[in-house]
Amino acid sequence: MNPFDIPIQALLGQLLIGLVNGSFYAMLSLGLAVIFGLLGIVNFAHGALYMMGAFGAWILMDRFGLNYWYALLLVPLMIGALGVVIERIFLKRLYKLDPLYGLLLTFGLALIAEGIFRDQYGVSGQSYNVPDALQGATDLGFMVLPNYRAWVVLASLSTCLGTWFVIERTRLGATLRAATENPQMVQAFGINVPVMVMLTYGAGAALAALAGVLAAPVIQVTPLMGSNIIIVVFAVVVIGGMGSILGSVLTGLALGLIEGLTRVIYPEASNIVVFVIMAIVLVLRPAGLFGKEH
């Protein structure tokens, strides 16, 4: 298909979907980077936490009749608490070991979560309605912008920027970064590093769950959504490198857009374009775009 024959509406529509997916990539890779920075663990369960976030929203609506806005608040808190429990029971005991063990453990946890949800809800998707306040679309003149999609992009970008601000510009963030560099020294200054580490994992889990709640109305909520996205997010993290927060956010958004663009120009390749870009980046810039090797 000749790229100049594509109707501008279709192009903009796909780019918007790409931007929405990109915001999820950004939020998830941000959480991965924060967790990796402080815990030294690549959290394979991040996809499962995202999936549980989406299911959390769906279950709150289905069982308890609690609407989207409650879900947006409650689900990240609950999954964050679950993250704290996981950190206390499992991850805490792995910090002295090779980081590969953390990857294997969280992979096991992801399999458990996926298996339980698959047993309960099957693999066919559940649909979750767009909340009333965000239904409909706004005509921008050159394109029709569905309100919910605009909200997702706005909400996740503000979350990412908020996280960036907390980590890079506040006293808490400075302590966090110091603990990443030298935990013993920060501990010696009288800061309770283990509690900080625990809360960081909880916050990362909450971030993944928030992405899941935001995603619930625009995708099919299925137990497999977590493992599908986490592998793409790993590729995003390899491309961007886990050293820089803004770097991982930008990489996530850019790859979402490229994926959207590919879906217009050559749909067959839209599944693989991120992996191909990863391969190209590895050849040209082995350390990643914003990366510093650990």
């Binding site: 990796f36 690549v42 499992f90 005991r93 792995l94 070991l97 090779d98 980081p99 590969l100 063990y101 990857l103 294997l104 453990l105 992979f107 096991g108 946890l109 992801a110 399999l111 458990i112 979560a113 996926e114 298996g115 339980i116 698959r118 047993d119 493992s227 592998i231 793409v232 790993f234 590729a235 993290v237 390899v238 067959e268 599944n271 693989i272 991120v274 992996f275 191909v276 990863m278 391969a279 590895l282 050849v283 082995p286 350390a287 090797e293 650990h294």
Partner: protein
Amino acid sequence: MRPATLFYIALLALAVLAPVLGLYPVFVMKLLCFAIFACAFNLLLGYTGLLSFGHAAYFGAAAYTTGYLVKTMHWTPEVAILGGMAFAAVSGLVVGAMAIRRQGIYFAMITLALAQLLYFLCLQLKLTGGEDGLQGVPRGNLFGVLSLASDTTMYYFVLALFVAVFLLIRRIVHSPFGQILKAIRENEPRAISLGYDVERYKLLAFVLSTSLAGLAGSLKTLVFGFATLSDVHWSMSGEVILMTLLGGVGTFFGPVLGAGIVVALQDNLADKVGSWVSVIIGAIFVVCVMAFRRGLVGEALAFFSKTRKPHNLLP
């Protein structure tokens, strides 16, 4: 004679007699295929310290290649197996060359992502039959003369190849090349400062491991007569990690035992508990990582020889 040698001889005798003893040959063949796969994976993780999270790609790529060569091109099985291994080796060379540019945890993520790339290719290409995969692949005649259609004949063919791979891996590990791999696993900067071209050794280990994983995939296609998407799926990569971890990373017999346990579990549980198989596999992962990182064989070895130093399983 050393106890280990006696143990292996007894086990081999049992394997040779298995069809007579009434063990279901297809089950034992499946076990042996996965044992080859896990041994190949262990060569990389256990003796070189590289965790590939995408080994299903080579297993599956070879499974598809062999299936295609036998079914469509009517090649004889031994040549088709070599074709599958060659394809796995070339894919391993390409992926390995990219992945070893990054260390540790990134290596795992890169191999996983590139394996997913292959998965989508198998899903979308016409050549691989999309969702259906390649069905009805005949076993053919070995060297054009010996028909493998009988399960017993096929069984001895698979067993012979398994023994060959097991001995080959022992030979590799005990060779000077294998010693250098272990030196890299223990301390990469030291190996570099001793003048070894570490990247080339890692790449060669990666290609060896992927070709043997390919052999496992090719054999699996011939045994069952099909190659499907589950052969290239990431969960297959997870399974081979589990087999190796459960049996014992960096032990010779561990991966074989691990493959036996996981295959037996799946065969017995799949129709009874449905999705809980994935929960059980996940739980075994968690228990292995938390409680016995040396795996069953590793723990047993440590128990029987208290004087042995607890060895480092991962770098």
